[in-house]
């Protein structure tokens, strides 16, 4: 049976993994390469790296870091942040990333999804989106509005409509990162996850809010996610991937148990 994926998220700033709450108050946690190896050896199913300052600093993603990760990690990993065009996508994929993630870039230029999918294949192109609850209205039938740049910029776009449009453009997977839940460790936003996952036909990765193994059980069983992102709960050492997976298995969620 296809298993549910657990994906540690490594937000990288100045070659250090960092973590904030609702995109603010970041503290450094460690070396991204060492952490990637530890999580891969510890049984994570995939990894995602965000170069969180690349966009603001108007520079491309740190390709040397991508290369260094690819040399030591032999499971799939995605990279995002600082992907500005097809050339940046190509460099990241050739450096060894399995997938590239676009977020603000796709909001401002949706054609990049179609172009990336055509040139590199849909399986390489991930859409990241940061929806926030704004209440159901005529403009936002799902009740969620897409934001960019760490909640600093509203887009006027409905989250579900954007997900469906991105699917039609050829994106291979969607990471739904709840702005309301990000970094709170109070649980995923199940409603948002389920809303999107049951209405698109491509895998949906839930992000934002993981604090306990039960939160992951809930996001798979109730939120219908195909994969889930974990960060603080493992970065602090409070939980291991193995323990999370043992609890998921106990609850009847299929997970990879041998690595």
């Amino acid at each position: 049976m296809l298993t549910k994926r657990i994906i540690p998220c490594l937000d990288v700033r100045n070659r250090k993994v960092t973590k904030g709450v609702r995109f603010q108050g970041n503290v450094d946690l460690g070396d991204p390469i060492e952490m990637a190896v530890a999580y891969s050896d510890g049984g994570c199913d995939e990894l995602v790296f965000y170069d969180i300052t690349a966009s603001a600093e108007h520079r491309p993603i740190d390709i040397e870091m991508v290369r260094a990760v690819a040399r030591v990690v032999h499971i799939p990993f995605a990279v995002g942040g600082g992907i500005r065009d097809l050339g940046d996508m190509r460099r990241a994929l050739l450096a060894g990333a399995e997938k590239v993630s676009v977020n603000s870039l796709a909001v401002h230029n949706p054609q990049i999804i179609a172009d990336g999918a055509r040139v590199f294949g849909s399986q390489c192109i991930v859409l990241g989106m940061d929806p926030v609850w704004v209440g159901v209205s005529e403009s936002f039938p799902s009740g969620y509005e897409v934001t960019t740049r760490g909640f600093r910029e509203r887009t006027g776009m409905d989250a579900l409509q954007w997900a469906k449009r991105a699917e039609a453009l050829g994106v291979g997977e969607i990471v739904v990162n709840s702005v309301d839940a990000d970094g709170t460790r109070a649980g995923f936003e199940l409603n948002l996850t389920r809303l999107i996952s049951t209405q698109v036909h491509i895998p949906v990765v839930a992000s934002g809010g993981a604090g306990t193994p039960q939160h992951l059980v809930d996001v798979f069983q109730q939120g219908k996610a195909d994969a889930a992102i974990v960060a603080s709960m493992i970065h602090t050492g409070e939980y291991t991937i193995a323990r999370i997976k043992a609890e998921l298995a106990r609850a009847g969620v299929p997970v990879r148990r041998k690595w």
């Binding site: 690819a70 294949g121 399986q123 291979g172 491509i202 895998p203 690595w259």
Partner: protein, 207 residues
Amino acid sequence: MVAIIDYRAGNLTSVRLALEHLGVACAITQDPARILAAERVIFPGDGAAAEAMRNLRELALLDTLRTAVDRSTPFLGICLGTQVIFDYSEEDGGTPCAGLMPGTVRRFQPADPLCKIPQMGWNTMALKRPHPLFEGIEDESEFYFIHSYYPAPADPAHVMGETEYAEARFASAVGRGSLFATQFHPERSGRIGLRLLRNFTRWDGTC
């Protein structure tokens, strides 16, 4: 030396890095002479069948593949590389393929509307028969898959491993003589995938 065949079908970096990690000399190449001089051949690929076949024709590699297989060179297909060795794929409105393995490639067609296509992620493989490439690999080990179509060999004797997805039980590993091919990505399947690759780099092509 292991030749990794470059036919403009996706990213070959992870295959190269996995072999380098194993300390095995390899080269990414489109050159028929280099491919036929290699001790072993890996035929990877991501993307769609019709374009893959078009590229193989343009690069004059179809005969090269057949010659390598006829000479019993240990040959490993991966993902799209595995699909195009069959006779025919349902992809792109129907695509005649390389015909190195009898059978067809079919699209997942689950009745359940909530079943996601492509299959993306880790799934188990049931080992159907012993093979040198399975040495040290347990039954029901998990591998990384990303695909919307699956191999359906004409001869059940060619099915080496099976996996279930989207209401189908399909051949996730196939083998015939010196030819072995996986629908999953061993180069992205962690320690167990590396074990399969290492087995390949030591395999003499006999069973």
